[in-house]
Symmetry: C2
Subunit: 159 residues, 2 copies
Amino acid sequence: MTLDILRRELKKRGQRITYQRELILKIFMESENAHFGAEEIYRLLLEKRSRISKATVYRTLALLADFGILNKIEFGDGIVRYELASFDGKSHNHLICKICGKVVEFESDKLDELMETISKETGYRIENYQVKFYGICPDCFKKILRNDDNQKIASESVK
Amino acid sequence: MTLDILRRELKKRGQRITYQRELILKIFMESENAHFGAEEIYRLLLEKRSRISKATVYRTLALLADFGILNKIEFGDGIVRYELASFDGKSHNHLICKICGKVVEFESDKLDELMETISKETGYRIENYQVKFYGICPDCFKKILRNDDNQKIASESVK
DNA sequence: GTTTCGATGAAAAAAGTTATCATAACTACT
DNA sequence: AGTAGTTATGATAACTTTTTTCATCGAAAC
């Protein structure tokens, strides 16, 4: 269980097991595959009637990432997010819609192979990777097509 | 030439060709494979005796990224960087050292294949991707080995 | 040359994150 | 259990990066 990993790592470093640290980790454990920013975690805690200082939220997220329990991810909207690192060590890959910002995850063995190849070619000890594909999701694509039609109709009726 | 692309795109949108926009693009064209943040661009402009407002730097970087002339990249240090998008449409992939922050680029056909596959599987129109491999570069790895040796020697001499 | 409207510069504001410091509370030791 | 010794927390200030505002400037069209 991930909470035990946290406790073990804290003891190893002579740091303390606190209510706040466990609570923030639980937020991630309760919603698999979620990517939360500091602000969002703060809000979720308030909704649970847990008043935890924002400073502690930031500190704890950095700590959990340092332990390798969370992974830091940035989708390019200026917000730093974190997600639960998976047990099997597989990295999460994200498919991001440029229009609505929706994020979908996917897995691929090809990436693990590529990691091996590049590691050998460059001499880097690669530990993990992050892949982001940017594009337009099916829903937004439909909307764009519809708008184009409407504009065509509108410009025709003007004539 | 990339400057022509900028001019063409600006005209297409009814926006203006300005000294500032061309100058900022030139900075990227003069140093291939560089990744600059807004602050860095501002400094480089000052060194060239070109006083351009920071607001314009931010606006222009966003504009060039919107045109697809620049790609936005984040290495996880809190600074948003941009790099010149390549002509052939190939995305740049980065190998980042966790210790010293050194960034190396690499290319791979496998990623283009993967992009195709995922695009078909998910229905997303994928336009570009960004791959970051995190690890330890050969230099830093050597240093770690050396330090471990020193510590072993030190602890032995304490006994 | 004049007009028009988008772009720029300077500064203020906003957003996100980190640092400071007094107080609270975890842990080890008796 | 009680206590001492530190680390963690909370509240706020400070900082950093980015965006907004608005008066002025200048590119493009006529």
